[in-house]
Protein backbone atom coordinates (compact mmCIF):
# COMPACT_ATOMS: atom_id res chain seq x y z
CA UNK A 1 0.00 0.00 0.00
CA UNK A 2 1.39 3.36 -1.00
CA UNK A 3 1.94 5.83 1.84
CA UNK A 4 -0.78 8.45 2.13
CA UNK A 5 0.16 12.11 2.16
CA UNK A 6 -1.20 15.06 4.14
CA UNK A 7 -0.35 18.65 3.25
CA UNK A 8 -1.23 21.46 5.68
CA UNK A 9 -0.94 25.22 5.31
CA UNK A 10 -0.71 26.94 8.72
CA UNK A 11 -1.49 30.65 8.60
CA UNK A 12 -2.54 31.60 12.15
CA UNK A 13 -0.33 32.61 15.05
CA UNK A 14 -2.61 32.45 18.07
CA UNK A 15 -2.48 29.89 20.87
CA UNK A 16 -5.80 28.29 19.92
CA UNK A 17 -5.08 28.11 16.19
CA UNK A 18 -1.61 26.72 16.77
CA UNK A 19 -3.12 23.41 17.87
CA UNK A 20 -4.86 22.09 14.74
CA UNK A 21 -1.76 21.82 12.50
CA UNK A 22 0.32 20.13 15.19
CA UNK A 23 -2.47 17.80 16.41
CA UNK A 24 -3.47 16.69 12.91
CA UNK A 25 0.12 16.54 11.67
CA UNK A 26 1.34 14.36 14.53
CA UNK A 27 -1.72 12.11 14.45
CA UNK A 28 -1.52 11.60 10.70
CA UNK A 29 2.17 10.72 11.07
CA UNK A 30 1.25 8.16 13.76
CA UNK A 31 -1.24 6.64 11.32
CA UNK A 32 1.49 6.27 8.73
CA UNK A 33 0.94 9.40 6.62
CA UNK A 34 3.79 11.38 5.15
CA UNK A 35 3.15 14.93 6.34
CA UNK A 36 4.33 18.39 5.36
CA UNK A 37 3.27 21.64 7.00
CA UNK A 38 3.82 24.91 5.17
CA UNK A 39 3.94 27.86 7.61
CA UNK A 40 3.13 31.25 6.19
CA UNK A 41 2.18 34.71 7.46
CA UNK A 42 1.27 34.56 11.20
CA UNK A 43 1.70 30.79 11.16
CA UNK A 44 5.46 31.42 11.19
CA UNK A 45 5.12 32.22 14.90
CA UNK A 46 4.57 28.50 15.48
CA UNK A 47 8.15 27.79 14.43
CA UNK A 48 9.85 30.03 16.98
CA UNK A 49 12.06 28.43 19.62
CA UNK A 50 10.31 30.48 22.26
CA UNK A 51 6.60 30.10 21.72
CA UNK A 52 4.82 33.06 23.26
CA UNK A 53 1.40 32.70 21.72
CA UNK A 54 -1.72 34.41 22.96
CA UNK A 55 -5.42 33.84 22.61
CA UNK A 56 -7.68 36.84 22.20
CA UNK A 57 -11.40 37.17 23.00
CA UNK A 58 -11.52 40.13 20.61
CA UNK A 59 -13.47 39.50 17.43
CA UNK A 60 -14.15 35.99 18.66
CA UNK A 61 -17.77 35.75 19.82
CA UNK A 62 -17.58 31.95 19.79
CA UNK A 63 -15.01 31.84 22.56
CA UNK A 64 -16.53 30.43 25.75
CA UNK A 65 -15.96 32.95 28.53
CA UNK A 66 -15.62 31.70 32.09
CA UNK A 67 -17.97 32.91 34.82
CA UNK A 68 -20.24 34.79 32.43
CA UNK A 69 -17.49 37.32 31.81
CA UNK A 70 -18.98 38.25 28.46
CA UNK A 71 -21.90 39.74 30.43
CA UNK A 72 -19.67 41.92 32.60
CA UNK A 73 -17.35 42.90 29.79
CA UNK A 74 -19.40 43.29 26.62
CA UNK A 75 -17.43 43.92 23.39
CA UNK A 76 -15.43 47.01 24.35
CA UNK A 77 -14.53 45.52 27.71
CA UNK A 78 -12.70 42.76 25.89
CA UNK A 79 -10.28 45.38 24.55
CA UNK A 80 -9.23 46.39 28.09
CA UNK A 81 -5.49 46.17 28.77
CA UNK A 82 -4.62 42.87 30.37
CA UNK A 83 -7.64 41.04 29.00
CA UNK A 84 -5.60 39.11 26.42
CA UNK A 85 -3.00 38.09 29.01
CA UNK A 86 -5.74 36.96 31.36
CA UNK A 87 -7.56 34.90 28.74
CA UNK A 88 -4.27 33.35 27.62
CA UNK A 89 -3.35 32.35 31.15
CA UNK A 90 -6.83 30.91 31.78
CA UNK A 91 -6.73 28.94 28.54
CA UNK A 92 -3.31 27.48 29.35
CA UNK A 93 -4.43 26.44 32.84
CA UNK A 94 -7.58 24.88 31.46
CA UNK A 95 -5.61 22.92 28.86
CA UNK A 96 -3.13 21.62 31.42
CA UNK A 97 -5.93 20.54 33.77
CA UNK A 98 -7.61 18.59 30.96
CA UNK A 99 -4.47 16.76 29.95
CA UNK A 100 -4.14 18.59 26.63
CA UNK A 101 -0.56 18.47 25.37
CA UNK A 102 1.53 21.62 25.28
CA UNK A 103 2.31 23.03 21.84
CA UNK A 104 6.01 22.42 22.41
CA UNK A 105 5.33 18.75 23.07
CA UNK A 106 3.11 18.31 20.01
CA UNK A 107 5.61 20.12 17.85
CA UNK A 108 8.41 17.86 19.10
CA UNK A 109 6.27 14.78 18.47
CA UNK A 110 5.70 16.00 14.92
CA UNK A 111 9.42 16.35 14.33
CA UNK A 112 10.19 12.98 15.91
CA UNK A 113 7.67 11.45 13.52
CA UNK A 114 9.43 13.15 10.60
CA UNK A 115 6.70 15.64 9.81
CA UNK A 116 8.45 18.19 7.57
CA UNK A 117 8.15 21.88 8.44
CA UNK A 118 8.52 24.44 5.68
CA UNK A 119 8.70 28.18 6.36
CA UNK A 120 7.46 30.49 3.62
CA UNK A 121 10.51 32.43 2.53
CA UNK A 122 8.56 35.41 1.25
CA UNK A 123 6.73 36.07 4.55
CA UNK A 124 9.90 35.47 6.60
CA UNK A 125 11.43 38.35 4.65
CA UNK A 126 8.26 40.43 4.66
CA UNK A 127 8.17 40.43 8.48
CA UNK A 128 11.98 40.73 8.82
CA UNK A 129 12.01 37.51 10.83
CA UNK A 130 15.32 35.90 11.71
CA UNK A 131 15.32 32.18 10.75
CA UNK A 132 17.80 31.58 13.59
CA UNK A 133 14.84 32.24 15.95
CA UNK A 134 13.17 29.13 14.52
CA UNK A 135 13.62 25.61 15.85
CA UNK A 136 16.07 23.37 13.97
CA UNK A 137 15.08 21.34 10.95
CA UNK A 138 13.04 24.00 9.14
CA UNK A 139 13.22 24.28 5.37
CA UNK A 140 12.83 27.75 3.85
CA UNK A 141 11.00 27.65 0.53
CA UNK A 142 8.27 29.09 -1.64
CA UNK A 143 4.83 28.28 -2.94
CA UNK A 144 6.08 26.11 -5.78
CA UNK A 145 7.89 23.89 -3.26
CA UNK A 146 4.58 23.44 -1.41
CA UNK A 147 2.81 22.28 -4.56
CA UNK A 148 5.54 19.78 -5.28
CA UNK A 149 4.27 17.85 -2.27
CA UNK A 150 0.63 19.02 -2.14
CA UNK A 151 0.08 18.06 -5.78
CA UNK A 152 0.40 14.40 -4.82
CA UNK A 153 -1.27 14.72 -1.42
CA UNK A 154 -4.38 12.72 -0.50
CA UNK A 155 -5.53 15.44 1.88
CA UNK A 156 -4.76 19.15 1.81
CA UNK A 157 -5.84 21.48 4.59
CA UNK A 158 -5.68 25.23 4.99
CA UNK A 159 -5.84 26.51 8.53
Amino acid sequence: MEQKKLAIIATKGTLDWAYPPFILGSTAAALGYEVEIFFTFYGLQLLKKNLDLKVSPLGNPGMPMPMGMDKWFPILGLALPGMEAMMTSMMKKKMASKGVASLEELRELCQEAEVRFIACNMTVELFDMDPSDFIDGIELAGAARFFEFAGDADICMYM
Binding site: I23, S26, T27, A30, L31, G32, K98, G99, V100, A101, L109, E112, A113
Partner: protein, 76 residues
Protein backbone atom coordinates in the same frame (compact mmCIF):
# COMPACT_ATOMS: atom_id res chain seq x y z
CA UNK B 1 -7.63 -9.36 30.32
CA UNK B 2 -5.38 -11.48 28.14
CA UNK B 3 -1.60 -11.54 28.40
CA UNK B 4 0.48 -8.65 27.20
CA UNK B 5 4.18 -7.85 26.80
CA UNK B 6 4.33 -4.15 27.52
CA UNK B 7 2.14 -1.60 29.23
CA UNK B 8 1.46 2.07 28.59
CA UNK B 9 -0.44 4.19 31.10
CA UNK B 10 -1.96 7.15 29.24
CA UNK B 11 -4.34 8.08 32.07
CA UNK B 12 -5.12 11.79 32.27
CA UNK B 13 -3.86 12.44 28.75
CA UNK B 14 -6.15 13.89 26.13
CA UNK B 15 -6.39 13.53 22.34
CA UNK B 16 -4.10 12.92 20.48
CA UNK B 17 -1.54 11.97 23.14
CA UNK B 18 -2.74 8.40 23.90
CA UNK B 19 -2.44 7.51 20.19
CA UNK B 20 0.94 9.22 19.81
CA UNK B 21 2.36 7.52 22.91
CA UNK B 22 0.99 4.15 21.77
CA UNK B 23 2.55 4.58 18.35
CA UNK B 24 5.88 5.34 20.00
CA UNK B 25 5.63 2.33 22.33
CA UNK B 26 4.75 0.01 19.42
CA UNK B 27 7.71 1.31 17.42
CA UNK B 28 10.02 -0.11 20.07
CA UNK B 29 8.36 -3.54 20.09
CA UNK B 30 8.80 -6.63 17.96
CA UNK B 31 6.11 -7.80 15.55
CA UNK B 32 3.53 -10.03 17.26
CA UNK B 33 4.08 -8.53 20.73
CA UNK B 34 1.10 -7.12 22.59
CA UNK B 35 0.79 -3.64 24.12
CA UNK B 36 -1.68 -2.91 26.94
CA UNK B 37 -2.82 0.71 26.99
CA UNK B 38 -4.72 2.33 29.84
CA UNK B 39 -6.52 5.59 29.09
CA UNK B 40 -9.12 7.89 30.63
CA UNK B 41 -10.01 9.88 27.50
CA UNK B 42 -13.44 8.59 26.33
CA UNK B 43 -12.51 9.56 22.77
CA UNK B 44 -9.71 7.00 22.84
CA UNK B 45 -12.20 4.14 22.29
CA UNK B 46 -13.03 5.24 18.74
CA UNK B 47 -9.50 6.52 18.20
CA UNK B 48 -7.83 3.18 18.91
CA UNK B 49 -10.34 1.42 16.61
CA UNK B 50 -9.40 3.88 13.86
CA UNK B 51 -5.70 3.60 14.65
CA UNK B 52 -5.87 -0.18 14.37
CA UNK B 53 -7.78 -0.08 11.06
CA UNK B 54 -5.37 2.36 9.48
CA UNK B 55 -2.08 0.97 10.73
CA UNK B 56 -2.84 -2.77 10.60
CA UNK B 57 -1.91 -3.27 14.25
CA UNK B 58 -4.68 -5.54 15.53
CA UNK B 59 -6.95 -4.31 18.34
CA UNK B 60 -7.45 -7.55 20.27
CA UNK B 61 -9.47 -6.15 23.13
CA UNK B 62 -11.15 -2.88 24.10
CA UNK B 63 -13.03 -2.52 27.36
CA UNK B 64 -13.99 -0.16 30.15
CA UNK B 65 -13.18 -1.17 33.70
CA UNK B 66 -13.19 0.86 36.87
CA UNK B 67 -13.68 4.15 35.02
CA UNK B 68 -10.70 3.52 32.74
CA UNK B 69 -10.37 2.25 29.20
CA UNK B 70 -8.15 -0.71 28.43
CA UNK B 71 -6.84 -1.68 25.00
CA UNK B 72 -4.75 -4.59 23.82
CA UNK B 73 -2.98 -4.04 20.53
CA UNK B 74 -0.83 -6.60 18.74
CA UNK B 75 1.97 -5.13 16.70
CA UNK B 76 1.72 -6.02 13.01
Amino acid sequence: MADFDEELDASGLNCPLPILRAKKALAGMESGKVLHIIATDPGSVKDFEAFSKQTGNELIESKEEGGKFHFLIRKA
